[in-house]
């Protein structure tokens, strides 16, 4: 098997692993989930640095592809830290969004009509 074929095989295996992890995570939870109703009013998400963090990660990944040695797919000293920053930003963002949703759904808020 050539290096290229081995690389694509590894990519395929990685995809299957990701799908498996997603399946396990999505399988958690109760059998019936009613669509939660947000409280009345207009809800704005709070400010966050996480989009900027993810952008920096993406920029590092792009730099890794741009500034590489000829026989490399990407510069590992740029792309790997970039990937880590990007994934960490995405995970933190999802966690923050889930926390925010729970806060809206269950937290104390004024449901009365505005006067």
């Amino acid at each position: 098997m050539t290096d290229m074929a081995a690389g694509f095989a590894l990519l395929g295996i990685g995809m299957l692993v990701v799908l498996g992890v997603v399946f396990v995570i999505a399988s958690r939870g109760g059998p019936v989930r009613d669509t939660p109703k947000p409280p009345r009013g207009v809800h704005m998400p709070g400010p966050s640095y996480l989009p900027v963090v993810m952008s920096l990660g993406a920029a590092l990944i792009g730099a890794g592809f741009a500034f590489r040695v000829d026989d490399q797919l990407a510069n590992p000293f740029l792309a790997i830290p970039g990937l880590l920053v990007f994934v960490a930003g995405a995970v933190a963002w999802v966690r923050a969004a889930n926390h925010e949703w729970r806060e809206v759904e269950h937290g104390a808020h004024d449901d009365g009509p505005a006067h």
Partner: protein, 206 residues
């Protein structure tokens, strides 16, 4: 992150304003969000198609794979058939849950996911047989960029399908509550349509 709640409407208008804000007066907000996302994706792929045509128009010489390489039309046709078939199976799943048939939803979603994974496997196999790499000329770079980004989107759709399948197996969808199924199906149809355009442009407009 914190949530700020603003209530600024007089009580008479409040109900309608809140209903609009929460998407209770028409299309669910999740579907609106998916439509907006697909609109941004259309612009993204529009840029990639523009890159293809620009590179091709400015290319001196015969447009196509570099010497020693080839693109596999029969395999690409089979992959196209697989992806188009998966759009049908996805829609069968949507129609099933609209009727409240959760069993058929699981079946059709599972088949769709299987076809999506088969497409990705076929594409990765195709890459190993092309005989040219990402940096072997303008055509090669554009080919890998277009098909690679599309493959990444198919993978994204496969993640969505996996979530739908897992939730369906847990019994979390019903005739009234299945917005996620509708949203993922819209995305999957979009990915399918993009591939048909890619297939025609790359493999037929030689």
């Amino acid at each position: 992150m914190s949530t700020r709640t603003m209530q600024a409407h007089p009580s008479g208008e409040h109900e309608a304003a809140a209903a609009v804000a929460h998407g209770q007066s028409g299309m669910p907000m999740a579907l609106v969000g998916m439509l907006l996302f697909i609109a941004s994706e259309v612009m993204f792929f529009g840029g990639l198609f523009a890159t293809y045509f620009n590179a091709r128009a400015g290319f001196a010489g015969t447009w196509g794979p570099p010497e020693g390489g080839h693109i596999d039309l029969p395999l690409a046709a089979v992959l196209t058939a697989i992806l188009v078939a998966s759009s049908f199976t996805m829609q069968f799943g949507v129609w099933a849950i609209r009727r409240g048939d959760t069993g058929k939803l699981k079946l059709w979603t599972g088949i769709t996911l299987g076809l999506g994974v088969l497409f990705l496997a076929g594409q990765l196999y195709d890459y190993t047989e092309l005989g040219f790499g990402l940096s072997d000329g303008v055509f090669s770079t554009v080919f890998y960029t277009l098909t690679g980004f599309h493959g990444a989107h198919v993978f994204g759709g496969a993640i969505g399908l996996t979530v739908v399948l897992a939730r369906a197996l847990r019994g979390q969808f019903s005739r009234r509550n299945h917005v996620a199924v509708e949203a993922v199906s819209m995305y999957w149809h979009f990915v399918d349509v993009v591939w048909i355009a890619l297939f025609l442009i790359i493999y037929f407009l030689q």
